[in-house]
């Protein structure tokens, strides 16, 4: 049995505490009115950040009518205020989702192993179970966050504003009104509750059967898990797309892309497999998982390599088609990202594609633990940026910065994730005993 090392536990707690302080200070330092925003923008332009005011100066010159200028300035400040107020929420949301998707992706990968009757991976099943143990708490946090958004505590989801769908209001938006059959708060929360509920229920049953298998003398538990996994994957492929529409695409309710759901999935699965590899290597280095050999690590690294390319493929497909057609209402998505986030937007191609592609190309390197760890850390950072870019450009716009709220949120969730995952690993032996493929997996060499 695995026991949680004291140092790791301490580290996790320290992360959580520091992270919580970061999150709190992010919320406390948010400007509450336009005056403060003015000061903030001024101080930022001194620092060389935020050329918003500079742009503003130009527009000032081109407008000669003072009244227009005044209202324009106010409009702008209001906009900036919203962005500043959104920022700590967005930072929290990005980190919460990032760690949530690690556990969800792992659960999916785990289900794929059952459904495909894989023979190489059973020695890693308990690791995967451990990582997916974060799913319930991750789901609760996300769901609570979405309820808070629905209650109007933040303005990330623009379409939740009742004025937009009220034909009497001056802010009436015909396009959003047309979508209100789908984008309305009660239905939004209900469908999210349903798919989160089913995913968690599935994760729970899979784990229960797996534990039962250790003392069972027949294969009923295994067959059950096989059937459950197939059903789950069929359910997941549909609901994952819906999740992507609900949680990210609807942030920008005018914009749409049919590929979006699968693009989010690609980010999810590559990050999850990376985490499986990292946790496996950690446990191995602590002297556990005696049956895991470098062939298993090699296979995980191959998946990291392959899915990194897959992610790039989808990124390119979506980008190319929108760029090629250049239809304004679609291109706006990439225009914001390239105008305001150029470094991150193109930098992420280096971390998510070029780097893992070059490092993990050689088959011998995929068997060297520190190489895999190196590539893995870069991949995770890159996909954090990817999630960041799903959210920030629409909620914060040009007023972004990676500072205390962002780092605080990441640290907090990282601590929580480590704590939950490694704690779950202590709950059961690290090797499934009666899996029909366990011997194949133990003898896995090539």
């Amino acid at each position: 049995m695995y026991t949680l090392p004291g140092k790791l536990k301490l580290l996790a707690i320290v992360f959580m505490v520091i992270g919580a302080i970061g999150i709190a200070s992010g919320f406390l330092n948010t400007p509450s009115n336009t005056e403060e925003v003015k000061e903030l923008l001024a101080s930022h332009s001194e620092d060389g950040h935020g050329n918003a005011t500079a742009v503003h100066e130009e527009t000032k010159e081109s407008h000669n009518q003072v009244g227009v200028e005044e209202s324009h300035e106010n409009e702008h400040l209001k906009h900036a205020l919203h962005a500043y107020q959104n920022r700590p929420w967005s930072a929290f949301y990005v980190a919460a989702f990032f760690f949530f998707m690690l556990s969800l992706g792992t659960l999916v990968f785990y289900a794929i192993q059952y459904a495909a009757q894989a023979g190489w991976s059973p020695v890693l099943f308990r690791v995967m179970e451990g990582i997916s143990a974060y799913l319930p708490i991750g789901s609760i946090i996300i769901f609570a966050f979405l309820i808070a958004s629905a209650m109007g505590l933040n303005h990330l989801f623009h379409w939740m504003d009742p004025d937009l769908v009220n034909p009497e209001s001056e802010h009436f938006d015909e396009i959003i009104f047309g979508k209100s059959g789908w984008l309305n708060t009660p239905f939004f929360l209900i469908r999210i509750a349903i798919y989160l509920g089913v995913w968690n229920l599935f994760g729970y049953i899979l784990r229960k059967n797996s534990i039962k298998g250790d003392t069972s003398d027949n294969l009923t538990w295994f067959k059950k898990n096989f059937k459950m996994s197939v059903g789950f994957l069929a359910f997941f492929i549909v609901t994952e797309t819906i999740m992507a529409w609900d949680w990210f695409m609807s942030l920008d309710p005018h914009w749409y892309s049919t590929l979006y759901g699968w693009y989010v999935f690609a980010t999810m699965i590559v990050s999850a497999i990376t985490v499986i590899a990292l946790v496996t290597i950690t446990l191995k280095s602590q002297g556990f998982l005696e049956f895991v050999n470098d062939s298993h690590i090699h296979d995980l690294a191959k998946y990291m390599f392959g899915f990194s390319i897959f992610w790039t493929y989808l990124w390119f497909a979506q980008f190319m088609l929108i760029w090629y057609a250049d239809i304004p209402e679609e291109a706006t998505y990439f225009v914001t990202r390239i105008d305001d986030y150029k470094l991150l937007f193109f930098g992420m191609l280096v971390t998510n594609f070029v780097f893992p592609f070059l490092v993990l190309m050689n088959s011998d390197f995929k068997r060297v633990n520190w190489f895999v760890v190196l590539a893995g850390v870069v991949i995770l950072v890159g996909h954090y940026i990817d999630v960041y870019l799903l959210v920030m450009p629409t909620t914060v716009g040009e007023h972004w910065y990676i500072g205390i709220p962002e780092l605080g949120a990441v640290l907090f969730f990282l601590g929580l994730f480590i704590f939950v995952v490694f704690n779950a690993l202590t709950k059961a032996p690290l090797l499934q005993k009666n899996s029909p493929f366990i011997k194949e997996s133990k003898h896995f060499h090539y």
Binding site: G178, Y256, S257, Y260, Y313, A317, P436
Partner: protein, 585 residues
């Protein structure tokens, strides 16, 4: 490759107690034997269709594209539909050979050769359509980036149609190299068995002088892996680029970002359906049921279920986002309420029924293991996938953004003729292949025999996982070694002396065979006697129907005691009865 241990729970991939020699004999049988009547009938039909299509192509080229049913609104229809349909079919082969190789799926070995052959033949059909559609095919080289003085203007690199030229030619060449590499040891096997010097010469050339030394094998494995690594992104890229044809240029201002992965999944979906159609027939005709087992068919059905599921989700996404976008034009595209109820409702529903509803039946285990039903489903899917491309092009174009130009499309006999011609051409190639090429990758199948053959799995189940898979050979004649090998594997074993005595007893009642005065009959004509059993009978001295027809219960028992491969088989199949009929005919 992977370690040789295989969990006992896994179903055997090779049935019928095969030995290495059996595999060679079974794979070589269609090449060494003569074509039967049904082969000639099917071949003639295919050839006629091909010639008819050739006539239509010549007519098109000599007259002009006007002989097709195109009009100003629907300015391409069957040509692009057929092109994409064939490219899609050409996807399963490389997927099976490359992606499944990377995933170490052993079941691919029974089917990869034919799937790859199908790929190459399908891509050849696909390549015909752009060339015909050019109108002046003798200028086809203009699509290559050659300097202006050799051709027209510099080619238009902004067009996905040009990207196709590179994608498909690359795909065809890599697939061909991959296919041929795998064929080398198998051609060598045919060469080594060849009886006439001519055949020996031909297969010697085809096998590139394969020697079977360890060095050859080592290079073979390396190059297979490298080619698999190259082919995998190619599988994705080819259909991605084909999807760009549709996603960027069907109706200006309309496109969908899901096209690339959705088209790749759709291509695999249709490709596997075509593999099913071909292999279900071939395994029967060429007696390969032991290598392409029901498990192979089920696994292919599972791939069809998976890719069909992905395609279904893509359809739903298209439909939903069409509504979600709030753009009125979306109601005129191929997956919309407008299409379902408009003049092309039948094409819309053909797509939904064939691609979405019918494959759902494969969720039922009993049905996906039913060969007849699988065959029907595979044909339905092929029809459905044709309609998918037809719908995207024709439904979308039929109601473009200018209502005054809305129109319908009706194909002429030339459109239909060319399409039928390519189907004929495809089958001509495939039928020729089935008679001249080793249709099972026998070298690779042999590599999994000990881990996945049913006899070896049974042996391990009886004696434990660590039992040796070989026995020391002590026979005399080479054929006898083979016989003994199988014999020794079973637990009961007769001593040499007992056996000799039994053979003498057997021959005394059946009569001996004198090669100087008598001619041997083809014992394989007796149902239940395969090439291997025939050899075993020969090794006992049984060569004629006359001898077999004399068998009674006593002789059957004696035979079983000597060859205890299929106890009771001879009696059950009534070999004596069959043989007495055969000897009089």
């Amino acid at each position: 490759m992977a370690s040789h241990y295989e969990a006992p729970i896994r179903t055997p991939l090779i049935t019928g107690d095969k030995t290495y020699h059996d595999i060679s004999v079974d794979v070589a049988a269609p090449i060494e034997g003569k074509a039967n009547k049904s082969w000639w009938i099917v071949f003639s039909i295919a050839l006629v269709a091909f010639l008819w299509g050739l006539g239509c192509i010549i007519y098109t080229i000599s007259t002009g594209i006007g002989v097709w049913g195109l009009n100003k609104t629907i300015n391409w229809a069957w040509d692009i539909t057929n092109f994409v349909w064939w490219v899609g079919i050409g996807h399963a082969g490389t997927l099976i050979s490359a992606v499944l190789l990377l995933f170490r799926q052993k079941w691919r070995m029974g089917i990869n050769r034919s799937a790859e052959a199908m790929t190459i033949f399908a891509v050849i059909q696909a390549g015909l359509f752009p060339i015909i559609h050019m109108g002046r095919p003798w200028l086809a080289y203009w699509v290559l980036p050659i300097p202006n003085q050799f051709g027209s203007l510099w080619v238009n690199f902004n067009s996905p149609l040009l990207w196709d030229v590179f994608a498909i030619s690359t795909y065809l060449s890599v697939s061909l190299v991959f296919w041929w590499t795998g064929l080398l040891p198998d051609f060598a096997m045919i060469r080594d068995r060849a009886k006439t010097p001519f055949t020996k010469k031909i297969y010697g050339i085809l096998s590139f002088g394969w020697s079977g030394r360890a060095k050859d094998w080592q290079r073979f494995e390396e190059v297979s892996l490298v080619l698999a690594g190259l082919a995998t992104p190619l599988v994705l890229s080819v259909h991605t680029i084909v999807s760009f044809d549709f996603a960027t240029s069907v109706v200006p201002g309309w496109h969908s970002t899901i096209y690339p992965p959705y088209f790749v999944a759709g291509a695999i979906f249709s490709g596997f359906a075509m593999v099913q159609t071909l292999l279900i027939i071939m395994r029967k005709v060429s007696n390969l049921e032991n290598y392409i087992t029901i498990l192979h068919i089920e696994n292919m059905n599972l791939v069809i279920l998976l890719t069909g599921g992905i395609v279904t989700v893509a359809y739903l996404t298209e439909y939903f986002i069409g509504w979600y976008s709030g753009i009125p034009y979306e109601n005129y595209t191929y997956l919309s309420f407008g299409a379902a109820t408009g003049p092309y409702w039948w094409a819309f529903w053909a797509l939904i029924i064939c691609n979405l509803l019918v494959p759902l039946t494969l969720w039922v285990r009993k049905w996906r293991r039913n060969i007849m039903w699988t065959f029907i489903v595979s044909i339905i899917i092929n029809i459905g996938m044709w309609f998918e491309r037809f719908d995207i092009i024709v439904i979308d174009l039929s109601k473009d953004r200018l209502p005054s130009s809305w129109s319908m499309f009706s194909p002429t006999f030339v459109d239909i003729g060319i399409f039928m011609g390519t189907i004929g051409f495809f089958f001509v190639l495939f039928l020729l292949y089935a008679r001249t090429f080793p249709v099972i990758a026998q070298a690779e199948v042999k590599s999994i025999l000990k881990s996945s053959g049913d006899n070896y799995k049974r042996l391990r189940a009886e004696k434990g996982d660590d039992t040796p898979h070989y026995t020391e050979v002590s026979g005399t004649a080479s054929v006898k070694k083979e016989t003994e090998k199988t014999e020794k594997m079973s637990s009961e074993e007769l001593s040499e002396n007992d056996k000799k005595e039994n053979i003498n007893n057997l021959l005394s009642s059946l009569g001996t065979f004198n090669p100087d005065t008598q001619t041997a009959d083809d014992l394989k004509k007796i149902s239940g006697v395969g090439p291997v059993m025939e050899q075993k009978l020969h090794s006992l001295g049984i060569y004629t129907f006359e001898q077999v027809s004399k068998m009674t219960d006593k002789e059957y028992d004696l035979l079983d005691s000597i060859i205890n491969e299929f106890p009771g088989r001879a009696k059950r199949d009534d070999w004596a009865g069959q043989a007495s009929k055969l000897k009089n005919s």
